[in-house]
Symmetry: C2
Amino acid sequence: MKKFVNDPKQFVPDMLKGLALANPDTLTYDPKANLIVRADAPRDDKVSIVQGSGSGHEPAHVMVVGKGMLDAACPGDVFAAPPTDYVIEAARRVNSPKGVLLLVNNYTGDKMAFEMAEEFAEAEGITVATLFIDDDVAVKDSTYTIGRRGVAGNFFVIKAVGAAAEAGADLDEVVRVGKKVNSVTRTMGVALTACTPPAKGSPLFELGDDEIEVGVGIHGEPGRARQKIVPADEIVDILLDPIVSDLPFSDGDEVALMVNGLGGTPISELYLLYGIAHEKLVAQGITPVRSYVGEYCTSLDMAGASITLVKLDDEVKELLAAPAEIPIRTF
Amino acid sequence: MKKFVNDPKQFVPDMLKGLALANPDTLTYDPKANLIVRADAPRDDKVSIVQGSGSGHEPAHVMVVGKGMLDAACPGDVFAAPPTDYVIEAARRVNSPKGVLLLVNNYTGDKMAFEMAEEFAEAEGITVATLFIDDDVAVKDSTYTIGRRGVAGNFFVIKAVGAAAEAGADLDEVVRVGKKVNSVTRTMGVALTACTPPAKGSPLFELGDDEIEVGVGIHGEPGRARQKIVPADEIVDILLDPIVSDLPFSDGDEVALMVNGLGGTPISELYLLYGIAHEKLVAQGITPVRSYVGEYCTSLDMAGASITLVKLDDEVKELLAAPAEIPIRTF
């Protein structure tokens, strides 16, 4: 294994410490419960938004804590759900009179931790709602999931509920907005290589020198098929066709189009994929009016990408265009 | 080779097409001269800033064209200087009464192309200045360089001259600012893996399963030493000590600290490195007051990172804090 790491078991805390040191004015790090929290949270005038999940998907979700996005992130160890205690502590830490929304990608381990945390938090008098995200069209059930998995489309749900919360919406309204965006968001991914968890020290699965895993999960779970690598143009078809036909998206639709890198793929290749996907959509009468190219939800150092489409109406457009501030400084 | 690519020879144009499709309101793409140009360039009231270099270093430089940054980028093919004709066309395209500044990382091929272009452009009546960037402390001369190489610190020069130009500074003043920032910027990098150019289809150099290349160049050029991989803590020492002792940076200094990914390294590892570097600097009385963690200047899919320090005074702080807008959307 060649990684930048000290003690592999301390990978997550060491990363979170660096994140907090790089953002002293906006973030605080609570090492006891592994939390990254907005410096100004909780605010009495807004619903607090919390997302938890296993680590290894950065920037999701610890690096999207900020104005218009999350109030706190509650990560577990690499590819492991956060302990229930940590989720309860997150709800306490950002408890607001307007309530707390817990966002959870639909994996069985995370679901259990968050459902238990919701019960305990409510017993303490905290107003809590939980929202599950399941945008991945690749498989119906999966290694760690009953029902569809939550993957990169999660970003759009965070952005939408974050915008609604900043605008002062109450908890029910924030939940409505989040469910709506989840219901119009579809994703599928492909792996060119496996990923290597620091504490394991070796690739999580084997993939031949000329093979790709179509519909891969963000923990390296199997997808729809393993096949020989093909040109980018064909890969885009393989990802886009199941996405478009699933909702379905159709002639006249306006969409947000995301090409998300899985961690080891350079941004040059992501823009190349974006161009192909954009033109294929336009040829079907579907118009990308918002573009997202980069890393949003990764799988450690996996080479690969996912494509996400969000069907837009005026409300969703406005939510996605709302201002936000996150720790990732680009200039 | 496993990459997202159609015809490997069309990798750069296909990427640029995607970039322009993703940013229709702010960027235009000229396929004849391989240019990415701000939609509002040239502006009569500001010096135009152009950077050219080989491709394969994205987001440098085609993805930092925007307000407060570049007016145009003039990329060559992967790891190849742009043809002189393309540089001249870039100068024509953004010709402003206030002049055009050409930024060039110090590589012999780029230097020749830009010096010739400067002569031709001046002969056409365009006011041009050229500024060479050479922030890499790893080696004195290198495979493609007489003198030091220009690497990720380049970002800070772009940011500073971009800010000065937006504020209305004349060409001499913009050049002064750029030279000043270059003179207080130092970088060193390390590779964990080689990179694979699309048209070559195989890794550019060989690196053993447990080896790292210390002081690597952004085209995979040899650095100072090849050694066994060590914990992140030691890697930070190996990079930071030569940087700190070179300027030198010393007790009482305020700095910008950048941890730049080389393309295949996930952002989790970059934040882990940031935390270590930040604490080591503070222990020496050097205070990071601006942080940059992510990909700024890559080497295709190479796993690895570089560290950059910029010595700050009030003027440089103000330039780096100026507003800017680039195509990379993060939320």
